[in-house]
Symmetry: C2
Subunit: 253 residues, 2 copies
């Protein structure tokens, strides 16, 4: 039988936690992306495999919902599998479960495969369809809501700007998908993470890529006491150019 | 026989690399600190063990010298051991070696144990001396130079300021030792890391702790084409308060 789900075993290391000794969202996010890539690689469609054929995976959307975060020294398993493939996109899901059975949370992600020379998306159902189909497991539960739509934010919602630095850039040469999350979480005061409070659900849509030196402007709008919309644009000039949306996100604390 | 050296096996995951597909210094640094803490914990003197007795480990100095960085999917072992203990400090060393035998580099670190209520350092040779002594292994080679002294920098060497954010803070409630390294590396342009160039040796002295919201000012002075001194101060006001030195570092590219 074909193995469809891979599980990465992890012990939460002390310096991968926040000031409340909870696993950081940065480490969680990186672990999800690494699990995705390792799962794909083991099945012949990792980024390295695609590179030779001028294709690469592009993360389009990510929704993570955590009931709780593992604490320092907790032993967890991060599982990933492919739920479905349709024309231009594939749905990959994740679970984070303690070895003691504690269900910490789930994640949903949507990926496209693009030809990095023509920038055209690949027709996933046709191209290598047989390879993908055998690993689909639509019946595996991922009991969190799919991602909704985040609206554009107004110029007046501007909070801060940041020039993309060396540490922001990953192996693809773009600002790393998870680094955006780190910068977005840093828009909120310490109190948002104190006394048992933490980010509960994050939805993020990746709309364009940004590069070293790009001026990233962060916009934030409060929806209610526990929910915020965020937009990141590149090339925004206050009172001038609106810039290009790079990321839109919804955060529920 | 007492086991004195612990080795953490790691496969360099794709999203833990930089744009040249090299393991990041941030992940390297975190791995060293985690290895140190896990090694101490396994022997009864980890931070958690000390917490009950009002003590904690404080990293005083760190010198890392890398001949090369592991690349994506390389399999490596990160080893750590305690070289020596003297009155108020202990020397802990590290090696990073590929499973194929490639010696990537070494690190030296100096730690103090402090009473976090009185802020007084513990007399390590007396306190629990017997526990520590049995794990010392001074004969294990760590063929890199010990750390030198970094001089104070001038106000005119000021480069940028940064308010410490949520993601900067670790389980101790301070700005994380490795996050300083990330911020310091971000002071240098992309070209410093391109075309095979990379940081070769880093020396860093931790002089004071900083906290959420602290204004951290970064100073940089060029020594020669490949070497720079860096200082981080908190509370610096241009033309006013000199501030307090938090970190001093020497970087050789």
């Amino acid at each position: 039988m074909v193995q469809k789900i891979d599980t990465t075993k992890i012990v939460v290391d002390p310096f991968n936690t926040d000031f409340q000794q909870r696993w950081t969202w940065t480490m969680l996010g990186k672990t999800l992306l690494n699990a995705a890539e390792n799962h794909a690689k083991a099945r012949g469609f990792g980024m390295m495999d695609l590179n030779g054929r001028h294709y690469t995976w592009v993360l389009s959307r990510l929704a993570i919902e955590m009931n709780d975060m593992p604490r320092v020294y907790d032993e967890i398993g991060v599982s990933t599998w492919v739920e479905s493939i349709y024309r231009l996109f594939t749905n990959r899901n994740f679970s984070v479960v303690g070895t003691d059975g504690t269900v910490y949370g789930y994640a949903r992600s949507i990926w496209a495969m693009i030809d990095y020379e023509t920038r055209q998306p690949a027709q996933l159902e046709q191209m290598e369809g047989e390879v993908f189909q055998q690993f689909l497991i639509p019946e595996e539960p991922c009991p969190i809501e799919p991602q909704g739509r985040v609206r554009p934010l107004h110029d007046e919602d501007f909070v801060k700007a940041h020039h993309a630095k060396y540490s922001d850039i990953d192996m693809n040469g773009h600002v790393n998908s998870i680094k955006y999350i780190e910068h977005i979480m840093d828009l909120f005061p310490f109190e948002a993470y104190q006394d048992g409070r933490n980010l509960h659900r994050l939805e993020i849509a990746y709309m364009a890529e940004s590069y070293y030196g790009d001026l990233l402007s962060f916009f934030r709008r409060k929806l209610d006491d526990n929910a915020y919309e965020v937009e990141v644009r590149k090339g925004f000039i206050p009172g001038g150019d609106r810039g290009t949306p790079v990321v839109r996100a919804l955060l529920r604390f």
